[in-house]
């Protein structure tokens, strides 16, 4: 069985309207992949940055997969949430990004989007906060039913991911 190690961190996020943000992340893989060690999902801390407008999380990722096939290569999906001083949480963006297929250290910028509601919902979001959210979070990382959605652009999540591959050449895989 070939093995893949993902060693890196979710560095932070930029480009969002407010900065007290946290991120829920997960790694989705196909049926041929088995998680050997590490956490495949988690939630970062909430950051209030003093210096820039970038929220820094430095959330470590250390995951070890074994696989029998190339289908279902791991995808990392993120949900960026905002926490206000009263402790209420509001969704700021969804994003997905494939884990790079070549070994080495990669700096990734994952773009995110936010579902857009009707004009009444947008008006109340302006005053009270809280917009529409996806009922089924599978839509973040599959493309199947996306045509039903209308969305608007949100900020970017920055990741640094290192990929270590084992035994891929033995099976003739070029990457």
């Amino acid at each position: 069985m070939a093995e893949v190690h993902l060693i890196g961190q979710i560095v932070g996020a930029s480009g969002f309207p407010r900065s007290s943000l946290f991120c829920k992340w997960g790694i989705h893989t196909g049926g041929a992949w088995k998680l050997l060690s590490g956490l495949r999902e988690g939630q970062t801390q909430v950051d209030h940055p003093q210096l820039d407008d970038v929220a820094y999380w430095s959330h470590p990722i250390d995951v070890h997969f074994a696989t029998k096939g190339l289908q279902g290569w791991p995808k990392l999906h993120v949900q960026v949430w905002h926490q206000d001083p009263f402790g209420r949480r509001e969704l700021y963006g969804y994003g997905v990004c494939h884990v790079p297929c070549s070994p080495g250290w990669h700096a990734l910028a994952c773009v995110t989007w936010q579902p857009l509601g009707s004009w009444q919902e947008r008006l109340s979001q302006l005053f009270v906060g809280g917009g529409p959210q996806l009922l089924n979070s599978d839509l973040i990382y599959t493309g199947a039913d996306r045509y039903r959605l209308q969305t608007t652009a949100a900020g970017t999540v920055h990741l640094e991911l290192g990929v270590v591959l084992r035994h891929f050449a033995r099976y003739g895989v070029e990457c």
Partner: protein, 211 residues
């Protein structure tokens, strides 16, 4: 006449990671007179063989010129052995300094994985402090000089339990690493794109016997 064949070298079961470098400098616009502590956090398959796992640096102040850099130039030197890249070592840096009343207070925690590609690398990591969520607690801690801090800085290197913490990021630390690995290719690990051009092809039968 045939020369005695050299016995084939036994297949390695561990690989080594040697890291040296320095904690170069920091950038904290609001604070001065800082020192840092570092320690390494690694998984259960890892063990340090030589070198220092922890250290405390000198206290440094900002230069009076416009540069405003806090320079430590604090050397790091450690070698690990392991059977598995899971739990790859991370360096956890904690920065401390005096507050208005002279108490020693934490100014930032940060962590980064030691790079796994052999060569020279430089990483600039953001530093954050835990923050209390109530305003009264913030005023009290400022008056008493007892700010929230982590009981064990190694918590910064883990992903679990973070969802309940609120932090404030307020500075950056730059660390330079030089990394050398031994026997990672022999064990079948490819760590950089050039490795895939000369991949670690262990013959299929050897691989099966090793497992």
């Amino acid at each position: 006449m045939a020369a005695a064949a050299a016995a084939p070298a036994p297949a390695p079961t561990v690989f080594l990671l040697m890291v040296n470098g320095q904690i170069e400098s920091a950038r904290f616009p609001e604070f001065d007179d800082l020192y840092c502590k570092y320690c390494f956090v690694y998984g259960p398959d890892w063990a340090p063989t030589t070198g220092l796992e922890e250290g405390i640096s000198q206290i440094t102040s900002k230069n009076r010129d416009a540069q405003q850099a806090l320079v430590w130039n604090f050397p790091i030197d450690i070698t690990f052995k392991s059977t598995n890249p899971s739990g790859w070592p991370q360096i956890v840096v904690s920065v401390y300094g005096p507050d208005l009343f002279g108490n020693d207070v934490v100014r930032g925690y940060g962590a980064v994985h030691v790079p796994f590609i052999p060569g020279s690398h430089r990483r600039t990591i953001p530093m954050f402090v835990p923050e209390s969520t109530s305003k009264l607690q913030k005023i009290t801690s400022w008056l008493m000089g007892r700010h929230p801090e982590f009981t064990d800085p190694k918590v910064v290197a883990q992903g679990e339990g973070r969802e309940v913490t609120t932090v404030r990021s307020q500075g950056f630390v730059t660390i330079a690493f030089n990394v050398v690995t031994k026997d990672m290719k022999k064990l079948g690990y490819d760590v950089s794109p050039s490795d895939m051009q000369n991949p670690s092809i262990v013959s299929l039968t050897d691989g099966i016997h090793n497992h």
